[in-house]
Amino acid sequence: MTRYILRRLIYTIPVLLGVSLIIFILFNLVSGDPTALLLGKNATAKQMVELREQLGLNKSLWLQYLDVVKSAFTFDFGRSWQSKQEIMHMVKMGAYPSLALSIPAFTISTILSILISLVVAFYRGKGIDLFIRILCIAGMSISSLVYILVFQWYFGYYLGWFEISGFEQGFPNFVPYVALPAIIWIVLSLGPDVRFFRTIILDEIYQDYVRTARAKGLGEKTILLKHVLRNAMIPIITYVVIQIPFLILGALLLESFFGIPGLGGMTLNALNSSDFPVVKAMAILSSVAYILFGLLTDILYTVADPRVKLK
């Protein structure tokens, strides 16, 4: 197990190299010269040349790439070109609102989806199953942007039930701000989640061991909640955990619509202003998170499924 974990951690090296390379190539192709932007509307040509040098943009591409790789492994991303703030500090500041939104929303939506899909699986083939299935598919067929627009307008603006925008640090101060985006998040995820979990649970329901459980005289509810759910947890864990690294990045659209100063907005901002150090940091951090949570998935497997041994 330890050896497996170690090996997986070592695997982050090639992935990080790849991520740095992709980000570096894309950025070099994308941004061109960031100096004009950084110096504002009255920049002079001379000052731009000086700044290029200061940012290390005169170095050979190879050396520049090495810098990217170096920061990928040291996590020292330096300071933002735009705000001059320290990037790790920005990440810390942005993580709070992002997580304040995403953790409750994600937890609630996951639990709710599992509950609903259990109910649906219990009544499989019946009217309620069909109804919820159709509701899920219909729900998934509407653009997320439409949900945001309509919910924000109706609940926030028209009815005035929720704060429309902004954020305050500290619980429970932030609750009124994240409530509406969290509800939208939940509504958005219920469709695909319930659909997926239902399939998983139904797959399990037709397994032989369920027949055994019935032959034992177990009730349908016990079978569902004990035997089936425990087995279904394995694919569910994968599905759920693999989303977590992207939660850290925040829900980009929701954050930008509800003025939540999270990492999603920060990333978008950085992309929109060619703030390479921030883009780089976010790409690298999220791929590290991706790998770590992939590893976590594997470890959770061994908990959920005794057949799995990590070697």
Binding site: P14, V30, S141, S143, L149, V150, L202, Y206, T267
Partner: protein
């Protein structure tokens, strides 16, 4: 003698499924509309000012007019063309990449697998939105960039799926049998294994299609979408500013159109899965 390939069987099952047939009809209608619009037969006049600014739906303009007095109905039709082409071209880019890489990785294993796995792990570990934005920026804006960006980011899950399936099939006896009669790698992979995973590709294509249509909206919101012509994305994006003024028809019309086609693809995807995936047979 009537014989039934699995495909014929699947289609027969599908044709008995009323929702699937309805969905198929919707997809066909949308495709025809898209083609007619592309040929300039429908909605050629979307850019004409036909009425006043922001006129609500009426008998004359069933979806009303937009800020510039253009017919929202025509814009929706033109948007259909954009959406269908985005769905189609994106799938045409993403699916071959995903299938070929997945098949090679799954079949050959070893360093080929390591390399391809590394490639998609790297790709999928970078948040999609970063790739989308970067690619559209590199290619310059416009529909071409939308195709490429969505295509280039959409192959990961299919690649993984195909890789897993090919690995499974590689061990099946029919593939061994093909080897035993002297068939080479290419024959085993392309003649034997791939046709047996095609159903997954078809199911995936129906999802890819609608995901692309939905992504176009997000790209439009970020200002990276189609330029200079109306798409459902830009129409929904417009609504951001219009809704507060009570102008809801542009949002409603484009959402309705999108809802229909995405719903149709979702239902069709489900029906295809039921019809094509032998695993679920009899359930």
């Amino acid at each position: 003698m009537k014989t039934n390939s699995l495909w014929v069987d699947a289609f027969r099952r599908l044709s008995r499924d009323k929702t699937a047939m309805m969905s198929l009809v919707i997809v066909i209608i949308f495709s025809v509309v898209a083609i007619l619009s592309w040929m300039g037969i429908l909605s050629a006049g979307w850019s004409q000012e036909v009425g006043g600014s922001n006129m609500p739906p009426s008998a004359e303009f069933i979806f009303g007019t937009d800020l510039f007095g253009r017919s929202v109905f025509d814009k929706v039709i033109h948007g259909t063309q954009i959406a269908m082409s985005v769905g189609l071209v994106t799938s045409l880019i993403a699916i071959p990449i995903g299938v070929v890489l997945g098949a090679l990785a799954g079949y050959f294993g070893g360093w080929v697998d390591d390399l391809i796995t590394w490639f998609y792990t790297t790709f999928s570990s970078i948040p999609n939105i970063m790739l989308l934005i970067s690619i559209t920026m590199i290619l310059g804006k416009g529909i071409f960039a939308v195709y490429v960006a969505l295509g280039a980011t959409g192959w990961g899950s299919l690649c993984r799926l195909i890789r897993g399936e090919v690995m499974k099939h590689k061990e099946r006896e029919y593939v061994q049998a093909a080897g035993a009669i002297g068939g080479g790698h290419m024959r085993k992979l392309f003649i034997h294994i791939l046709p047996n995973v095609t159903h997954l590709v078809i199911i995936n294509a129906s999802l890819q299609f609608q995901t692309a249509i939905k992504s176009e909206v997000i790209l439009s919101y970020l200002g990276l979408g189609v330029q200079g012509e109306p798409s459902w994305g830009t129409m929904i994006d417009d609504a951001k500013l219009e809704l507060a003024r009570g102008v809801w028809w542009q949002l409603a019309a484009s959402t309705l159109a999108m809802f229909l086609i995405v719903l149709a693809f979702n239902l069709l995807g489900d029906a295809l899965r039921d019809a094509l995936d032998p695993k679920l047979k009899g359930k």
